[in-house]
Subunit: 223 residues, 2 copies
């Protein structure tokens, strides 16, 4: 049994550095310095830099999917397979938002690492990322159970927009804070989640056919 103290030290250091500074400007030498191991250790334990990144991504990706699905199942169990649409979307965006916003001590490098992945999409990751689609399909299915009358296209757009709002909030929380001079509180994670979910749900349920009427676009009064 190999004493994988070095291995785990490298993984932890790499994840933190990638989460903080992105893949672009984190070198192997940065990682080994942070992990306090020798330069050659990465290639010895992982084979190459790319394989290190890939292992990191696979691990975290599975964990995130598991977390989302467990929240989803918990919500569906309450009502025998039909969770309210809010709960489905909350299971989708909650884990990421909770891990990335909120008080410092509660933020997980894992969640921030996954956001990096969603931003930069470096080659070793791009090859694996297809599995994400299958994962998201499970949520589309759950959304369909919540909103039986809703068309597939609307569900896809709704999920897409929900993820968009969640990810952008994480990615650009700084800009939002600056723009609003602190009036938008991104530290209150649960409030942010409710906000994202609520807008997404309105997009799913509120719109409908009315959206396609172009005559209305310039006719509405500014009130």
């Amino acid at each position: 049994m190999p004493s994988d103290r070095t291995r785990t030290a490298i993984l932890a250091a790499a994840e933190r550095l990638y989460a903080d500074r992105g893949f672009g400007d984190v070198t192997l030498r940065d990682i080994v310095a942070a992990a306090d191991v020798n330069l050659a250790a990465v290639n010895y334990h992982f084979g190459s830099k790319d394989e290190l990144i890939a292992e990191l991504f696979v691990t975290r990706s599975l964990a995130l999917n598991r977390e989302r699905l467990s929240e989803l199942r918990a919500a569906e169990e309450v009502r025998g397979g039909r969770a309210p649409i809010e709960a489905v979307l909350r299971a989708l965006v909650g884990p990421t938002l909770r891990g990335c916003l909120g008080p410092d001590n509660q933020r997980s490098t894992a969640a921030r690492f996954m956001i990096r992945v969603s931003i930069e999409s470096v080659p070793p990751i791009r090859r694996i990322r297809n599995r994400e689609i299958d994962h998201l399909r499970k949520f589309v299915a759950a959304m369909a159970r919540s909103l039986p009358g809703c068309s597939d296209v609307e569900l896809y757009w709704g999920l897409h927009f929900a993820l968009a709002m969640a990810q952008q909030t994480v990615r650009d929380s700084e800009r939002l804070t600056k723009l609003s001079e602190g009036k938008c509180d991104v530290e209150d994670v649960e409030a942010v989640i409710e906000r994202v979910v609520s807008v997404a749900v309105m997009g799913l349920t509120g719109g409908g056919a009315e959206r396609k009427v172009p005559a209305r676009l310039l006719a509405r009064d500014a009130r």
Copy 2:
């Protein structure tokens, strides 16, 4: 007057390459090869790679802001200073979406370059990007004119979400297409714009205080 044939060739090649492949893996040698100029030309004409990127960004940033504001003014002139909120948001997200989605021949490298900027945020750009806040504030002001009853915080979140949906749609249009097996048509740009705007407007006008009531969250029926 310097014959800036080389200069413009470099700018065009660089913009296209950055738009296509990102800042991460485009080297000076790629650029000069595409522009068919000598390697030293970049440093001769621009001083450094970073200054080339900065010039590209400043130029395009000003152009995009100008385009947005001209759409906004056009919309506000119709009703003497109070455009419908839909028109304001359309002026915000329209230019980017039109330039990045839609038929190939109509896509602009400029718009795709700006999306890259919003994704990668390389150091020379990060230093300049603060001006963006001032630009966005003008839109917040216009939104306030459209929705006088709306609180500032809601306006900030509304603008934030609108940009989030627009940018994510551009960035991840491929995933949405795959996920929906082509059923979500991102080529119909005007429809996408209306969709983004409509959801954002619902978020601004539909929600209100009701959003804060937690009791409702699990109580809604799945039907």
